[in-house]
Symmetry: C2
Subunit: 229 residues, 2 copies
Amino acid sequence: MAQTYEYPRPALTVDVVVFALDDEDLQVMLIRRKLPPFAGQWALPGGFVRVAETLEEAAQRELQEESGLAGIFLEQLFTFSEIDRDPRERVVTVAYYALVNLAGHDVRASADAAQAAWFPVGELPELAFDHTRIVEVALQRLRGKVRYQPIGFELLPAGFTLSQMQHLYEAVLETPLDKRNFRKKVLGLGLLLRLKERQMDGRHRPAQLYRFDAQRYEKLKKRGLHFEV
Amino acid sequence: MAQTYEYPRPALTVDVVVFALDDEDLQVMLIRRKLPPFAGQWALPGGFVRVAETLEEAAQRELQEESGLAGIFLEQLFTFSEIDRDPRERVVTVAYYALVNLAGHDVRASADAAQAAWFPVGELPELAFDHTRIVEVALQRLRGKVRYQPIGFELLPAGFTLSQMQHLYEAVLETPLDKRNFRKKVLGLGLLLRLKERQMDGRHRPAQLYRFDAQRYEKLKKRGLHFEV
DNA sequence: CCAAAAGTGTTAAAACTACACCCATGA
DNA sequence: TCATGGGTGTAGTTTTAACACTTTTGG
């Protein structure tokens, strides 16, 4: 399988920052490395890109192999190319990020507990390579994006409550939001469809479930959807 | 210089979309290709990444070599990885974009006219590879970005008038803006410093020149600057 | 004195913020 | 019946959008 090229070329990898909302906290999925370099240390899921796959395919494949997560919505984040970011040789990595688990999407179950784990974004361990930096950039992007785009929508499960959605926003933005104003605004967008069912999950009034109206979203997006917190 | 690796790896290139404002129109810089594939066709400036340089360095180098433009502000756009985007072999490209020339920055002069030329974004010729797509993505990004971030500021020349700035915004957004409201908003940001000089460039009232207050911008950006058209 | 772009305020409409109580359920 | 989170409207303030005339210069 060895290959010779006329000029040396950087190796190409993908890394994925998967965010999840666990009750209150925004968490990040990490994998414990088995091999050097940084053996035993925590790192983002990721690995080398094969010549017959796109970057997104590589990211999905590595995510599946290392964490069990399959078919989630990925967004390209940034391509990192610092010369010394990998001690072995020159490696350029394309980072992706994803947001999973609003409304009962149990993410823990799909990860192989032996090597994958979730950490609150505020309490990450020391990470391999420049992965701490990558997580920072992802977080920054997520926060920036959430303010003017209804993020999370592409990847929401079928039914969620407005409170869950509000908690997502509060966790990402790290700021409390007013319940009435949040509902007014988010319903005013016309992107949510009421479901027939309601969520009865405790000793309190059941909550209305909604789903995201993807078709309408696509239409509005083309005309320059405007949305803010 | 030939090199052998254990596994085949994609080649890595950079491509740059340079936008410029020429009076009314938003233009894109293109290079006529001398070598196959697509010899004789127009393409974005760009080329292979060397192992000892970062992507940004590669982009700057290629831009300098192919167009004479040096040291301009580049922003990473997206990394394109479609399997067949290059007919020769698997090539992944990291695209950058830049915006030059508000207020008398004469861009034409720095480009080697024999191979580089400007085209209005609405009238691009057929481009090599997937470069048409890359320009589309860049344009989309520029338009999206301009609405909530004071773009262009990092790369503005020392002195510019509010009308020039407004024209930039109008060209990028392809929509007319109200002069009074634009001025109110942009001055209200507190990011512009009046210069002593005024621009006397015609038989009409001279225009006040401003420069961008980069320090203040950096401060505000950290606190989550809010800006909209 | 004419042409051309620079510069300047006000008003009505819309959007945003702050805020407090009743509702439906399970225990 | 109590605890828990779900759900709802209004009023004051701020922000936005629309709009027209005067100023300064060069020819």
